[in-house]
Amino acid sequence: MGAFVAAGYVPHVQEQLNSRFAVGDALTEMIGFQYEFKLFSPPHTLRSAFTLLNIAPVGEQDRDGFLKYLRSLMKTKADVDEEPSTLSGHDQILASLRKNLESKKPMPVYFTWHPGETPKGIVHITSGEPYSFSGETYLTISVPTIREDRPKAGKRKKK
């Protein structure tokens, strides 16, 4: 995110995402939304799904940046459990969320990020125990981020 959303707000968005997919009532709600509205299935996009869930930074500029960022994930690659996916990062996130929420035992979801420069823009999807204080298994979705102080295209030094 970084380049799309002010760095200070990124943890806030992450907190919103993680609390909406947390163990308990929140996850039960998501299962209900997927059952009734197929929220994480086409023709929905991450942009439309997160808008319906009211997940976004507070300020208008950062909100627009976040929605642009979600769209930019359509141009990234993805891997699932370290195996390359044929889907874009965006579509793989939707597919993994759908598969998880429609499974017999849906897992809570943990959203995190990693540096997106090298290799360029890959969404990593795994399952594991992200919290050292909990033995709960989460579907983990890590999205590539760019530093907000990264020089814009055209202003980068050629090596």
Partner: protein, 227 residues
């Protein structure tokens, strides 16, 4: 009751003024949860034929958004009622060019329709003692019945398993209100729960009027009637 209504009016006028015509403006966290509630409440309606609908506690008219999305073919004469003047002003502005839509300020339904819905209107009791709030809910349910030709639907939040109910909110088990609607209002009730939200929805229908017992003479008449 008047003080209680004034407090409710003030509360919801505050939310719409702070957040505008959005789910937060009517105290819902997001559109998805709002729509999921509408899905349940509208199960009381028969979409096969045209009908009239009272939307009590309509806010800015979010139900119309949902109806346009999922039931765009349905012929519905919609009437939104809300206790907050600011809510109704926002609703009138938003739905100004819609036909068969009316918004009125009120603390009761005020007019008979085929169906009435009330989404989330019993959830925020603003610190009022539960007994007083339950009297208010009883009065509102009686009014919803009086203003519904066929049936009405309402929802309530369920209690948490291990946390006491917040002072500001009202939570209840279905039993309390199913018993009231069956015994006091003489209606049939269907309970919906387990749809993803910590709440339940009651679909309440008027019972068809049973025919008055026939007098001795009318039995003969019935026998004579052509088959």
């Amino acid at each position: 009751m008047r003080g209680l209504r004034a407090k409710v009016r003030e509360y919801y006028s505050g939310t719409i003024e702070r957040h505008g015509p959005t789910p937060l403006g009517v105290d819902w966290p997001n559109a998805a949860s709002q729509y999921l509630r509408f899905v349940q409440l509208l199960k009381v309606c028969d979409f096969e034929r045209p009908f009239s609908l009272n939307d009590f506690g309509c806010g800015y008219g979010a139900l119309l958004e949902y109806l346009a999305m999922r039931h765009s073919e349905a012929e519905i004469a919609y009437r939104g009622i809300d206790i907050s003047v600011s809510m109704i002003a926002a609703a009138r502005k938003r739905w100004a060019d819609h036909r068969r839509v009316e918004f009125v300020v009120g603390s009761k339904c005020g007019r008979i329709a085929d169906y009435s819905l009330a989404s989330g209107t019993f959830n925020v009791r603003l610190g009022h003692p539960p007994a007083g709030w339950e009297s208010y809910v009883e009065a509102m349910l009686s009014d919803l019945k009086a203003c519904s030709r066929i049936g009405f639907a309402v929802n309530f939040m369920l209690p948490h398993d291990d946390i006491p109910t917040e002072d500001e909110l009202y939570r209840s088990s279905p039993r309390r209100w199913v018993a009231f609607c069956r015994q006091e209002l003489g209606c049939s009730v269907r309970v919906l729960r387990g749809y993803g939200l910590r709440e339940f929805t009651l679909l309440i229908r008027r019972k068809p009027r049973t025919a008055a017992p026939r007098q001795a003479g009318s039995r003969k008449a019935a026998r004579r009637s052509p088959r």
